[in-house]
């Protein structure tokens, strides 16, 4: 199936979960990433159950703390 991950279209195996995608994409600080699928947040703790569908658009949102001091 085709997924658009962080703006890039790629082919993935059917039945892929959000948790598996995080692993495949080598997401930094995976325990603290926010995930949206088709512009809706996936609740933390449900990444294992969240199965992706052909055509889904996935975004990873990262904590970014720096700025000052």
């Amino acid at each position: 199936m085709q997924l658009t991950v962080a703006g890039n279209q790629k082919e993935y195996a059917d039945g892929l979960t959000v948790a598996k995608l995080i692993e495949l994409e080598e997401v930094e600080t995976p325990a603290y990433v926010t995930v949206s699928v088709n512009d809706a947040f996936i609740a933390g703790g449900t990444f294992e159950e969240a199965v992706l569908q052909d055509g889904d658009r996935i975004e990873f949102l990262y904590f970014m703390g720096g700025g000052s001091a």
């Binding site: 949206s36 947040f41 975004e59 949102l61 970014m64 703390g65 720096g66 000052s68």
Partner: protein, 267 residues
């Protein structure tokens, strides 16, 4: 308010813009912006807002200028090392534009003082370096119905969003709660390229200016991310979250809270 000849000349490049003009420049001169953190993000934001003639600019920070700040915090100079950051920032801003009032607030912003600090301002800029402060500013601005610009930078990356009361999601909608201390690297641990503060802090100033003059589209409902190595900007949609603890339908955060505050470690 009539413009003096000095003001007409100083702001001529603004006044030429149809989106700003005399009317927009007057709005800027009558506006007030509070910048929390006089560092990597706050420095360029403060410089551009002072230059733009934002009439009242508050700047809050408890720290002193450190030599390691000067790689990116362009409002401070080498002779300022050891000086209070807010004093150093105020002097530079007033040197650029004596027509603006700078209120230096040498304080560590926490739950006990933030509501009072933000109360008199039209727009807030989060230029802080740690998650407890970023959540504190978010919650306080939501509770006080104040628009603000959130941003973060690390290594060769930066991101920002703009919150406008009633018009979209807040920072907490996306990020729920601060990560545990040390779970996510800081700039002190991971480094940051100096010009990143310039890029992202200037974008925060741009959002403040657009909000004040009431032109264009703000980043409301979007997170703009910048990857300098790929030279790529992305505008990611931020969904609203109806169960958000502070701006959701049944909020559980009704007053600002202090999270475990690590010693501000980004010198």
């Amino acid at each position: 308010m009539a413009f003096s000849n000095e003001q007409l000349e100083r702001y001529s490049r603004h006044i030429l813009l149809s989106e700003v003009g005399v009317k927009g420049q007057k709005k800027l001169l009558e506006a007030s912006v509070l910048i929390i953190g006089a560092g990597g993000l706050g420095a360029p934001a403060a410089l551009y807002l002072a230059a733009a003639g934002v009439g009242t600019i508050g700047i809050a920070d408890a720290d002193e200028v450190d030599l390691s700040n000067l790689q990116r915090q362009v409002i401070h100079t080498t002779p300022d090392v050891g000086k209070a950051k807010v004093q150093s920032a105020k002097e530079t801003m007033e040197a650029i534009n004596p027509g603006v009032t700078v209120k230096a607030c040498r304080t560590f912003v926490d739950a006990s003082n933030i509501m009072g600090l933000i109360a008199g301002y039209d727009f807030i800029i989060d230029g802080t370096d740690n998650f407890p402060a970023k959540f504190l500013i978010n919650d306080a601005c939501v509770l006080a119905a104040k628009p603000f610009s959130h941003a973060g930078i690390i290594r060769f990356k930066g991101q920002l969003t703009t919150y406008v009361p009633g018009e979209g999601p807040c920072y907490r909608c996306a990020f729920k709660a601060p990560p545990p201390p040390d779970a996510v690297p800081t700039c002190k641990q991971a480094g940051v390229i100096g010009a990143m503060g310039g890029v992202i802090g200037s974008l925060q100033a741009m959002e403040a200016v657009k909000y004040i003059i009431g032109k264009g589209e703000l980043l409301t409902g979007h997170l703009l991310t910048y990857d300098a190595l790929k030279m790529e900007f992305r505008k990611i949609k931020l969904p609203a979250y109806k169960d958000c603890a502070v701006c959701g339908e049944h909020p559980t955060i009704l007053a600002p809270v202090d999270y475990e505050q690590k010693e501000c470690d980004l010198k």
